[in-house]
């Protein structure tokens, strides 16, 4: 989306909005635009999303602009000259609370807070063009159907899925539940079976219902799904870590369980 259009979309939520048209993600060009904005007023807190690009920018930005940084933050309490934040660590198995002196940079987990509503008088400013640091070619992902990070139900296929063809039942189940589907990172990046994946370097989702099918529950992946309301796991390995952090689990062959689910759901509808 062009910068101007994005800026207008969030108009009302911020007093001052800055945008730029820097083209595809060139980390150093993007952050130099941020430096420029930050130098125009002394910001105490910089907030980035906990996405691949958000983390990159937070790292670049904080190295120059603030010494205290925390990622994977889901709660923030503000004190006079500091912030007390709670963040996930150890693949989300543990949480750490720590105090950060201001100025501070945070990467906030999606779904930690409700979407803001405000009706401020916004001023939209354009940031000047920055020098390119590299050559970039960008191939946008193509998402068919509902985007996982906007869906109320997300069905995810993991390593237990043997072929691309077999993903069809994941897609069918997602369709019946009027939800989105996605996969774990190896299926997207190594196999190329999906344009999206859920996890620390991919999408973070916070649906009402997450169903992990053949997903073992590696920390990289679960970090992206942990704020789901209800987590369902279907896996043949009783010792898969996902069973430790699901609400409902079925230990069994996904190639038997999923068709049974589809059959039952179709009969009901």
């Amino acid at each position: 989306m062009p910068g101007r259009e994005l800026a207008e979309k969030v108009s009302g939520l911020y007093g001052e909005i800055y945008y730029s048209d820097l083209g595809p993600f060139d980390p150093l060009a993007y952050v130099s635009a941020l430096y420029e904005v930050a130098s125009s007023f002394s910001a105490d807190i910089a907030v980035f999303p906990c996405t691949g690009k958000g983390r990159v920018l937070a790292g670049l930005f904080s190295a120059k602009n603030s010494r205290s940084t925390a990622t994977d933050v889901y709660r923030v309490e503000s004190k006079k000259n500091s912030l007390v934040v709670r963040r996930l660590v150890y693949g989300g198995k543990a949480e750490a609370s720590l105090e950060l002196n201001l100025p501070a940079t945070l990467c906030l987990l999606q779904g930690s807070y409700a979407e803001a509503e405000a009706n401020l008088a916004s001023r939209i400013n354009k940031v000047s063009k920055q020098n390119q640091s590299c050559r970039v070619e960008f191939i946008p992902k193509k998402v068919e159907g509902i985007e996982p990070d906007k869906a109320e139900v997300v069905v995810v296929g993991g390593r237990g899925i043997r072929t691309k063809e077999d993903l069809k039942m994941i897609i069918e189940l997602a369709g019946i539940l009027k939800g989105a589907w996605s996969v774990t990172r190896p299926l997207a990046v190594d196999e190329g079976w999906s344009e999206t994946w859920i996890g620390i370097t991919g999408l973070t989702v916070s649906p009402k219902l997450y169903i992990g099918i053949g997903v073992s529950g590696q920390p990289h992946h679960m970090m992206g799904a942990r704020s789901s309301k209800i987590v369902v796991a279907i896996n043949s390995d009783r010792n898969a870590p996902i069973f430790e952090e699901c609400d409902y689990g079925i230990v069994g062959d996904l190639y038997v369980v999923v068709p049974e689910m589809i059959k039952r759901l179709k009969n009901v509808k």
Binding site: F25, P27, V56, E260
Partner: protein, 257 residues
């Protein structure tokens, strides 16, 4: 070509357990080099093989796990290995870690490339590489799934949340590598024996002009997401049907389908 590989030994979080108070039992949790860090080292060793390079492995911390991590890197084929002697390395701020690596690069450099894992196995912050890039003024490629290094520049394919980015950068550059980038080599017995005679060099924060910041009052406890953990069996047709019916009833009662 001169290359730094910045490594961090990390807790194997899949094996992390907690006591009854929710305190993580870190002493009994295995510590190894993170998968992405090993892939970063592998990329450096590939360059050494194809173009010729001196590969310097470095880690911030002086525990046994840190020394072991560097020894493992030497066994895999790194030419030199350093530990930056900082106590309590698990508790120091990210900027201190990034500063330590950046200062190390300045003091022992110059270098063409700093490789590191795109994220550590335990904290997953993924910000150290970008911080080092900003501190050194090096170019940055983050989250590379595929890297190709040539004489003066590197190309990399990076998969991000919105699509695929193909980058071409000139050196000096920081390149962070994901665990999908390659299959890290397993050292041969001969290489392990050879590395036993190699020295793990030590460098102190004062030699790097480094001030160490620790997090204040950091408290780590088990993260309790209240999950119900109702586990059902589907071992034959009958139990499959029963479990699926139960599951769908639960989900209806929860109001999520």
């Amino acid at each position: 070509m001169r290359i730094i590989v910045a490594l961090k030994p990390t807790y194997d979080v899949s094996q992390l357990k907690f006591d009854s108070e929710g305190v993580p039992l870190l002493d009994t949790c295995p510590v190894t080099l993170g998968e992405a860090d090993k892939c970063a080292l592998e990329e450096a060793l590939k360059v050494k093989g194809s173009l010729g390079a001196t590969v310097v492995a470095v880690t911030v911390g002086q525990s046994e796990a840190h020394i072991k991590g560097i020894k493992d890197a030497l066994a895999m084929g790194a030419d030199e290995g350093y530990i930056i002697k900082i106590n309590n390395a698990w508790n120091i701020s990210s900027i201190t870690v990034a500063n330590a690596i950046a200062r190390f690069a300045v003091v022992t450099g110059p270098y063409d490339i700093v490789f590191t894992g795109s994220g550590a196995g335990d904290t997953h912050s993924s910000i150290i590489g970008p911080m080092v890039s900003a501190l050194l003024g090096y170019r940055l490629v983050a989250n590379a799934d595929k890297v190709e290094v040539k004489e003066q520049k590197a190309t990399a394919k990076c998969t991000m949340e919105d699509g695929t980015y193909n980058y071409e950068v000139e050196f000096p550059a920081v390149i962070t590598v994901t665990s999908e980038a390659n299959e890290p080599r397993i050292p041969t017995l001969k290489a392990i024996l050879r590395s036993k005679n190699m020295q793990v060099k030590e460098i102190g924060p004062e030699q790097l002009g480094l001030s160490v910041e620790e997090y204040k009052d950091i408290k780590v406890i088990k993260h309790m997401v209240e999950r119900k953990r109702v586990i059902m069996e589907a071992s034959d047709q009958k139990s499959t049907e029963e479990s699926v019916v139960k599951l769908l009833t639960f989900l209806k009662d929860e109001g999520v389908i």
